[in-house]
């Protein structure tokens, strides 16, 4: 469904992604793990069109999407929960969720999806009229994921959803990721520092080093791979 072929991305003159090849099929949960600065965030931003790829090809459901405007890419069904959550600080929780549904026109279903979100995260319902900037870290992460869900994405890109959260909330968030993957057939591309958690949730995984994919395998195999265990699982 999503395919990156020999993608090269740069910040100015510095090349970050080098000949990247990634393939994701419909309904999968795929994880991308790698050390700090490996280029994981850049990969997601390249898919979303915020970092231009200088060469190579990105296709999504048969359409070529590199060189496409970011808002067009969103309209094809790709939503991102970016690193650092990026909640709109002076929009209320409700308005933040509304922004997630920015390109949708089916008002009735938007209402329904909002109720669904408030079922998943009752705390957000209590905070609905509060500014996004006043939420706690955990609440922000819940809101960031909810905002992305509000777009009814076909492909959900998640950048380190567990960062800085209490273990209980992390578990809750991973439960929800699995739930929307199963219930809505949403394909998930998950970037994680917490490799153990990510590989347990995912079907397959990619390992990235210095902007290159050095390993790709089923999640089970990666979990038992010696090098992966040493480098990313701390075992």
């Amino acid at each position: 469904m999503l395919r990156l072929k020999n993608v090269n991305s740069f910040y100015g003159n510095i090349q970050v992604l080098k000949n990247l090849n990634i393939e994701i099929s419909r309904g999968e949960i795929i994880t991308l793990i790698g050390a700090n600065g490996a280029g994981k965030t850049t990969t997601l931003m390249t898919i979303s069109g915020l970092v231009p790829s200088r060469s190579g090809e990105i296709t999504f459901m048969g359409k070529t999407i590199h060189n496409m405007r970011p808002d067009r890419i969103v309209s094809l069904g790709i939503s991102q929960v970016p690193e650092g959550r990026r909640i709109f600080p002076y929009l209320t929780v409700l308005e933040n969720l509304d922004m997630g549904a920015f390109l949708r026109t089916d008002r009735k279903n938007i209402k329904k999806d909002m109720e669904y979100i408030f079922d998943l995260f009752p705390i957000l319902s209590q905070r609905r009229n509060q500014f996004g900037g006043t939420l706690s870290g955990g609440e922000r992460q819940m809101l960031a994921i909810s905002r992305a869900i509000m777009a009814r994405p076909v492909l959900l890109l998640l950048d380190e959803p567990s960062l800085g959260l209490a273990p209980l909330i992390v578990r809750q968030i991973f439960e929800i990721i699995k739930k929307i993957n199963i219930e809505n057939q949403t394909t998930v591309f998950l970037v994680e520092q917490n490799a153990n958690l990510a590989l347990k949730a995912a079907h397959r995984g990619y390992v990235m080093e210095n902007g290159r994919i050095t390993l790709s395998d089923s999640a089970e195999n990666l979990l038992s791979n010696e090098n992966v265990r040493k480098a990313y699982l701390g075992l």
Binding site: G49, D71, R86, F88, D98, F102, L103, A151
Partner: protein, 300 residues
């Protein structure tokens, strides 16, 4: 007491015109962190457009009301087109450049537009007809408020109410706020950011043009340089209120208008600028971000 009331109303009138122009500065700053130095010229072009249309429509025999309405409309449309075009040719190509480049480009645009009007029109002051008739009901209160002042107050408050509604409740307004708060995130939820920026310039320019028509008709003369003077005042108002903040721009403009009005009324009109800028310095010492400005840590 009556004199005091007169000064208040005069100050509010002046302030609300400043507000119309200040809104353009503050909205553009809020969304792309640019001081649009060419904004005063958009206001000036609005006044010139209105003058041209007024002359032509009057010659064609249109009645007074039709002339006011059509000339204002023409000014608004014309200025909006200028604002839109200036953004597209002078700022959009520099979106990824350092922050100084668009600033220089803005100063260049300002100089260019001034000289363009200077060459196309004249360097002399041109008389601007008083478009606003003397209302009957105002006669008994004439020593406190004039008909033009009433029209200015009503027009500007209507414009501001409409703007508030647009920003707060419409889809476009929400997209504008989201873009101002985090441009990249706005893209990630599907906002066409370039379009939002264009809309911001168009709205700001339309408001400035309205201000241009109202004040030109009130003062009675215009030339190519009026945009610079009004621009500085409106910019001051925007900074005073907290640049980037919409209610701040209105508040700052009203405070500035009242200060000038009182300085003129109780001291001398020679000192109105001294008081206006003295106030600016004073407020910025105690509230560096302006009256309603917020100090935000911005993520890029």
């Amino acid at each position: 007491m009556e004199y005091f009331l007169e000064l208040i109303l005069g100050g509010l009138t002046r302030g609300s015109i400043y507000a119309l122009i200040a809104l353009g500065y503050t909205m553009v700053y809020g969304i792309i962190q640019l001081i649009n130095f060419a904004h005063g010229e958009i206001y000036m072009i609005g006044a010139f457009t209105a003058l041209i249309f007024t002359s032509v429509l009057t010659l064609l025999g249109f009645n007074e009301i039709a002339v006011i309405v059509l000339a204002s409309l023409a000014a608004v449309i014309y200025s909006s087109a200028y604002g839109y075009t200036v953004e597209k040719i002078a700022y959009m190509p520099l979106r990824r450049a350092s922050r100084l480049s668009p600033l220089i480009s803005a100063i260049g645009m300002s100089i260019f537009l001034q000289n363009y009007v200077l060459l196309a029109q004249t360097s002399d002051f041109l008389p601007f007809p008083n478009l606003i008739p003397e209302f009957e009901f105002i006669k008994p209160y004439r020593h406190i408020i004039s008909s033009p002042e009433i029209v200015i107050l009503i027009t500007t408050s209507t414009a501001m109410i409409l703007l508030t509604f647009l920003i707060k409740f419409t889809r476009t307004g929400k997209a504008m706020r989201a873009t101002a708060q985090d441009r990249n995130m706005a893209m990630l939820v599907g906002v066409n950011v370039n379009r939002v920026i264009s809309i911001t310039f168009v709205i700001g320019s339309a408001l400035a043009a309205l201000g241009g028509v109202l004040i030109a008709s009130h003062v009675g003369q215009i030339n190519f340089y009026i945009g610079f003077v009004a621009g500085i005042k409106a910019f001051t108002a925007a900074v005073l209120g907290g640049i980037g903040s919409i209610p701040g721009a209105v508040l700052g403009a009203l405070v500035l208008g009242l200060t000038e009005s009182f300085a003129t009324g109780y001291v001398s009109s020679d000192y109105e600028d001294v008081f206006a800028f003295g106030l600016l310095v004073l407020i910025l010492i105690f509230k560096p971000a302006g009256i309603l400005g917020r100090v935000t840590a911005r993520k890029v």
